[in-house]
């Protein structure tokens, strides 16, 4: 695996090409598992999940021309379970689901799967909009350490980590470049 140490001590575990390959593979897997794309809809979790969802959606369009899957955005801030622990920066950017959720097969997309709490919150948010037929989960990185019984249906890369490490997904849309970094913030 090509892992390079960057200036600030963070280690790169995926570069742009690796991310691209992973997303294309995930797109293929999604199509394979969901033969009928009719009822499929993507929902990206703010903020990086949104961009990943867009990329996967584009990849699917390239694989099967003409397939335009509906697309929404969910902001889980209002569904978090840690208000009492204090939110550092309680920015609410808003949820935008421009399609009826009822009966849809929702594909939830996020960058990193860790404790599972974000996905729990996102699912709570989704069901407030209706009753989807099913919810599947796609993530770029699964770093383990789940605190809830949640697993991803599609994983770009499984990345074993320790709790003292931090995984950072950087995307061209927000960070100027594509890469996944791992950083030790504290010995455990």
């Amino acid at each position: 695996m090509d892992s390079a140490v960057t200036g600030n001590g963070a280690r790169q575990v995926m570069d742009a090409r690796a991310i691209e390959r992973a997303l294309v593979r995930v797109a293929h897997e999604i199509l394979e598992r969901n033969k009928d794309t009719e009822q499929l809809a993507f929902v990206g979790i703010r903020s990086r999940g949104v961009h990943l969802a867009e990329r996967i959606r584009r990849a699917i369009q390239e694989i099967e021309a003409g397939t335009l899957v509906p697309f929404g955005v969910v902001d889980i801030t209002l569904y978090r379970d840690d208000l009492d622990r204090g939110l550092q920066n309680p920015v609410v950017q808003g949820t935008d689901i421009p399609f009826a959720v009822d009966g849809r097969r929702i594909l939830l997309v996020d960058d990193v799967l860790f404790t599972g709490r974000t996905v729990r919150a996102a699912m709570d948010a989704l069901v407030d909009f209706g009753r989807p037929q099913s919810i599947q989960l796609a993530v770029l990185v699964d770093r383990g350490h789940r605190e809830l019984p949640i697993r991803a249906d599609f994983v770009g890369k499984n990345l074993p980590t320790s709790l003292g490490e931090q995984v950072q997904v950087r995307l061209a849309e927000v960070d100027g470049q594509d890469e996944v970094l791992i950083e030790t913030v504290r010995e455990r």
Binding site: L78, R80, V92, G94, H145
Partner: protein, 329 residues
């Protein structure tokens, strides 16, 4: 985004980026009110007390809906300010409420500064829902949100506020916030209700309605209190209406895309002609909708901030689920 207010006692002195943060948050909350299930679990288990010393169905209802859409439990206490003469002081009431461990208290009171008094006694966030002739910050914020929604900005706009400026907490809050965000504010009314010292707060003063509304982007009409008639601020309501009732003719002097706001309830034919209140430029109903969103945003921001303060930093930071990027499950 930077929201650092412990309480919302008024908008005077609240910096532009904080006002913008409130408006941005409120804008994102508007969507919740359009859902079938108009509720998010954000403030589940939190208690919001609406402490109203003045009768106000619409403001109280708006706050109550806002709290409920965030899943907070609400308790309405309607107290008469005169009852405090008989016994309990506001400070005592405050101490009693504190003992019930509310997460926020929304206060409406006929005395200017009553919220400041409560804030001195209570540790939980105080949200001013109108204190005397001082401020009514949530009304001004919903006005700003409405203006921004229609005209896309605040900076550079000319806003005419017409009516009883002297006694208006709505006018004060709007004046402060509009000036902070870079709008030009004209205050329009008879000299008895528009004292010259207002210039020191950065307003232009006008005693003629036509001059006041000419080329305005926004006209904000204030409700005229009938009891002012007896206090010689103007001879009669009829005469007041002759000079300051917003008619279609007056509206035509303003910019073509002008919008008309009114905090309600309307005195039709007194400060605003029915044709104007119901006209295409009237955004009065948007104000009501935006009121819920603004109040949701403030309850959320104030309570989230107070909880962040309560959370002891070192321990809280050690929780994996609190961490930044990688911390999100």
């Amino acid at each position: 985004m930077a929201f650092t207010q412990r309480h919302l006692l008024g908008l005077e002195g609240v910096p532009a980026d904080e006002i913008t943060a409130i408006l941005d948050t409120a804008a994102s909350f508007k969507e919740i009110s359009e859902r079938d299930i108009k509720k998010v679990p954000t403030l589940r288990g939190k208690t919001v007390i609406n402490l109203f010393y003045e009768v106000s169905t619409r403001t109280r209802t708006s706050f109550e809906i806002a709290a409920k859409r965030l899943s907070a439990d609400t308790i309405n206490i309607s107290a008469s300010a005169s009852s405090t003469c008989k016994g309990e002081t506001l400070a005592d009431t405050a101490r009693n409420l504190e003992a019930m461990r509310p997460d926020a208290i929304v206060v409406r009171h006929p005395s200017s500064g009553a919220c400041h008094l409560l804030a001195r006694h209570l540790s939980c966030p105080i949200l001013n829902a109108g204190d005397g002739c001082h401020e009514h910050p949530t009304q001004a914020l919903l006005d700003l949100l409405t203006i921004r929604g229609h005209l896309g900005r605040i900076a550079g706009l000319t806003v005419a506020i017409v009516g009883d400026i002297l006694h208006s907490r709505v006018a004060r809050s709007n004046l402060h916030a509009l000036r902070t965000l870079g709008a030009t504010v004209r205050l329009v009314g008879p000299p008895t209700l528009v004292p010259p010292e207002l210039r020191a707060l950065g307003a232009e003063l006008h005693t003629r309605l036509d001059e006041g509304v000419r080329d305005a982007d926004v006209i904000m009409m204030l409700r005229i209190q009938r009891e002012r008639q007896g206090a010689n601020f103007f001879p009669t309501l009829d005469e007041y209406a002759q000079y300051f009732c917003l008619t279609e003719e007056a509206v035509r002097l303003a910019k073509p895309q002008v919008i008309i706001l009114h905090p309600g309830p309307l005195n039709r034919g007194l400060e605003i002609a029915s044709a104007v209140a119901d006209g295409p430029y009237s955004v009065i109903m948007d104000q009501v909708t935006n009121g819920v969103a603004v109040r949701m945003a403030l309850l959320y921001l104030l309570i989230a901030r107070s909880k962040a303060e309560d959370a002891l930093e070192p321990e809280a930071l050690a929780e994996p689920s609190r961490r930044r990027t990688g911390g999100r499950g």
